[in-house]
Amino acid sequence: MTDNTNGTEQPDERVPKRVIGTPPPGTPMLGEEESTEVLKVPGVSLQDPRTAKKGERLAALCFTVTFLAGIGFIASYVAFQVGDLDSTGVSNLALGGTLTLALLGLAVGIVVWVRMVMPKYNLVQERHAMASDEEVRSEVGETFMQGAQESGITKRPLLRRTLLLATAPLGLAPLVLLKDLGPLPETKLRHTVWDPKQHGGKELRLVVEGSGQPIRAADFNSPGGLLSVVPEGYEHDLNALSKATLILINLRPEEIKSGTNKNWTHNGIVAYSKICTHVGCPAALYEQSTHHILCPCHQSTFDATDGARVIFGPAARPLPQLPIGVDGQGYLVAKGDFPVPVGPSFWERGDAEAEVREKGGQV
């Protein structure tokens, strides 16, 4: 390759006669070392020929398994269609099984080859310190300073400063470009679609999540009942749902404690935001006997009878209560928006509950 020394041509029976254009046998291909007699190097101990022979056979068997499994994979692709759960399962099993077997066969075959056919190695190589010589270092340092001086960057401050000045706005440009990723928060987090003012004073009906049925107060009359409720007309608006989803609980009036605003209930029916005040998971679990609302994500627990105050877990605030009433036809409607922002706390939120109380309201 690099140095094609016309070495002596060794008449070796096992080596085929030289083909024109190829280097003679015994020619070092990659420099001088390890050209011949590789296998007599100290640290390289050859396998016993019987082991090697056995290894060859074993590896060949493994490779054959891979060959067959590979064919099986292609056949499975053609033979098994997907669609329902069962057929997809069968296809997955066939494709995955053959693929696994094919890969495993190849892997085991190569390991057998390495361990039984290849020699055992215990070679030694020297390490060299990572650091360059002192000489090299100082030379590089000199070159660097020489280049810096030649370029004039050290002695021409005008050049240097205007260059820095020039790049500053360019560096900011990508950040500026990201501004349109989203609108500013403004007061969006403080309102939900329940607010009648958003609909010209129309009070939205509470409908059952999933079915979309409006709820007649008279029909939801068994104490201990629970419904997951969404605003009518917003059943599939995820942005609206992520703030406006409610849990509707029917309590016996005597169970309701002072934390709950009784004016906002209707015959013992009370509506709380379903969005946990911790990080926003739906607080979906309700224990009838204790009236505890539990968020399955981080187990914040709220007392439904007492304004959904926190009784355990990482949530710091109660689930906000929604003022509800009934419309002319007896269906439950929202009489107003939540008094405070729903969902997880955020920096600009402040102590919204205290502010409401200051104004004489109840949370």
């Binding site: 080596v15 046998p25 990659l30 269609q81 290849m118 989203g182 999540e209 739906p282 979906a284």
Partner: protein, 541 residues
């Protein structure tokens, strides 16, 4: 035996390449590059190969996945969800599972490979930590590794969200809840990430481009750098016979190591394919489409997010309101502090250790964990800290399975997260010293041979034999941990850098951390009674 000429096609191709880029010099130096052998050196390779499998299976998934959040009516093959309104992302994920042959297999392989990728990185990192393989000159590679782990978590988080099923949506919701709780910038971060209010219609497309382009691009670049540095600096080796700080002992890259690495890649591939075949993962069709109004009980993130989930769960409800602003400590502390402690601690450890020991030498022989008891104890206490948080990420499952009250598990976590690491530290430290003593005993007195001998005066003794050469060499590879010279000079003035409170602390830490706790003394006097009996020298050395 002659090696014979290089076959013509190979010789021709290599000549072509060498003529143009001079590859011969590189190959001359590197074809027989020596790689030391130890099972623990293969852990990082699991991560490397999983990454390759992630790229392959991930590319397959992109051919069908659509990162759309507009609502479509599902019209695919999976009967139970037909006619249901869902996001295009979820519908296309269902299509990959039910309408593309091999799609489910590739999806499950991708998910399993992701778990194995991160698990592989973690155990590799622990191996590097406990053996001190991060020491000079490998600090840069260690930091690259910490970056890789952080990025891999982000990569996992973005990928986990893409199917847009109910379970992944819960994860996304928690992510948003954490983002919005950040002081000062929280609402802006959330609105910019989601293109407005949560969940909006943009986040899938954004996560998708992060997940398939930006983060994997950086991962690929950093992994390449990681490999190049490993190659240039040569791998560390375990202490042993003939192994010094100045050499590498092992098998050559070509052919043995190359073949072994190839086989190992195939093994990883086979395990991932096998898991994807026989162990179902993330059956998205069972969860249904995402809606912020619903959740299923027992929602668990993938294992690598478990520690964050656990820290959120055990945090007490702290929130501060000052001057009209809110600081939701019950979110930002658990979301940022454990991760911050772990990642910052990892990144700084090599430098802190250097500062404490004053050791600026190059190290190429790996430490046995017992031989640096304080480091090992710190590592174990970090594992315990992480492990408690991780366990508590599934406290609802634990509570249900062991019939313990849910709140009891939370309180257990709140206490164990502080007590556990301290306990782990003390126990590990003692165990390390015990193991060192054991080594010293083996080198000093030999191994019990099981041969009972009766001495002329009637005493029975068990004959000890010297340990096997390789084991003895492995044990003798221990060296004392350096300390900074802290002793005051003749006039009672401590050395520069060790004055003042920080300097004194440093001196104190150095003294505690370093030194030789249990020196190996090879006193040849076996057993007082056996020395005179010289009839059995071969057994008693």
């Amino acid at each position: 035996m002659s090696t014979g000429p290089v076959p013509k096609p190979i010789a021709g191709t290599s000549s072509f390449i060498d003529d143009r880029i001079g590859a011969g010099n590189f190959l001359k130096r590197n074809l027989r590059k020596i790689f030391p052998d130890h099972w623990s050196f293969l852990l990082g390779e699991i991560a490397l190969y999983s990454f390759i499998i992630l790229l392959l299976t991930g590319t397959f998934l992109t051919f069908w996945y659509k990162p759309g959040m507009n609502h479509v009516v599902y019209d695919g093959s999976y009967e139970p969800l037909k006619g249901i309104l869902m996001s295009e992302a979820y519908a296309s994920s269902l299509n990959i599972s039910f309408d593309v042959r091999g799609g489910l297999l590739m999806r499950q392989m991708h998910h399993w490979a992701a778990l194995l990728f991160i698990a592989g990185m973690m155990v590799h990192m622990l191996r590097v930590f406990f053996t001190g393989a991060y020491r000079k000159p490998r600090e840069l590679n260690w930091i690259i590794g910490v970056l890789l782990l952080t990025l891999a978590l982000a990569e996992g988080l973005t990928g986990y969200s893409l199917p847009d099923d109910l379970l992944s949506g819960a994860g996304l919701r928690i992510t948003q809840g954490v983002a919005i709780s950040l002081p000062l910038v929280g609402t802006y971060v959330s609105f910019f990430l989601f293109g407005g209010e949560y969940p909006g219609e943009d986040v899938m497309a954004r996560f998708y481009s992060l997940h398939i382009l930006l983060i994997p691009g950086i991962l690929l670049a950093l992994i390449s750098a990681h490999m190049i540095l490993m190659w240039v600096q040569k791998h560390t080796q375990m202490p042993g016979k003939g192994r010094t700080n100045k050499n590498v002992v092992g098998a050559p890259f070509y052919p043995a190591f190359m073949a072994k690495a190839g086989a190992y890649f195939l093994f990883t591939f086979a395990v991932i394919a096998g898991l994807a075949t026989f162990a179902q993962i993330n059956p998205i069709w069972a969860f249904g489409p995402y809606t912020p109004a619903d959740i299923s009980a027992g929602s668990q993130p993938d294992f690598y997010m478990g520690f964050l989930e656990g820290s959120l769960r055990i945090m007490p409800a702290w929130e501060i309101n000052v001057l009209g602003y809110t600081l939701p400590l019950s979110v930002i502390i658990p979301a940022l502090v454990p991760m911050g402690i772990i990642m910052t601690g990892l990144a700084l450890y090599p430098f802190l250790e250097q500062w404490v020991t004053g050791d600026r030498r190059e190290h190429h022989i790996a430490d046995r964990p017992r031989n640096n008891p304080h480091r090992t104890a710190i590592g174990m206490s970090a594992i315990t800290f992480y492990g408690v948080l991780w366990l508590l990420g599934a406290n609802d499952e634990l509570s249900a399975f062991f019939h313990i009250s849910l709140y009891t598990t939370t309180w257990f976590g709140r206490i164990a997260v502080f007590l556990g690491p301290a306990l782990a530290y003390a126990i590990t430290y003692r165990m390390c010293l015990g193991l060192q003593r054991n080594d010293a005993a083996i080198l000093g007195h030999g191994v019990e041979s099981g041969v009972i001998k009766r001495l002329p005066h009637g005493e029975f003794i068990e004959v000890h034999v010297p340990p096997a050469d390789d084991i003895a060499a492995h044990m003798r590879g221990k060296e004392a941990i350096p300390t900074i010279a802290a002793a005051p000079d003749g006039e009672g003035i401590p050395p520069k850098g060790l004055r003042g409170p920080i300097g004194r602390l440093r001196a104190k830490m150095s003294e505690t951390y370093g030194g030789e706790k249990i020196p190996i003394e090879e006193h040849h006097e076996e057993h007082p009674a056996i020395s005179p009996a010289d009839d059995d020298k071969s057994l008693t050395r």
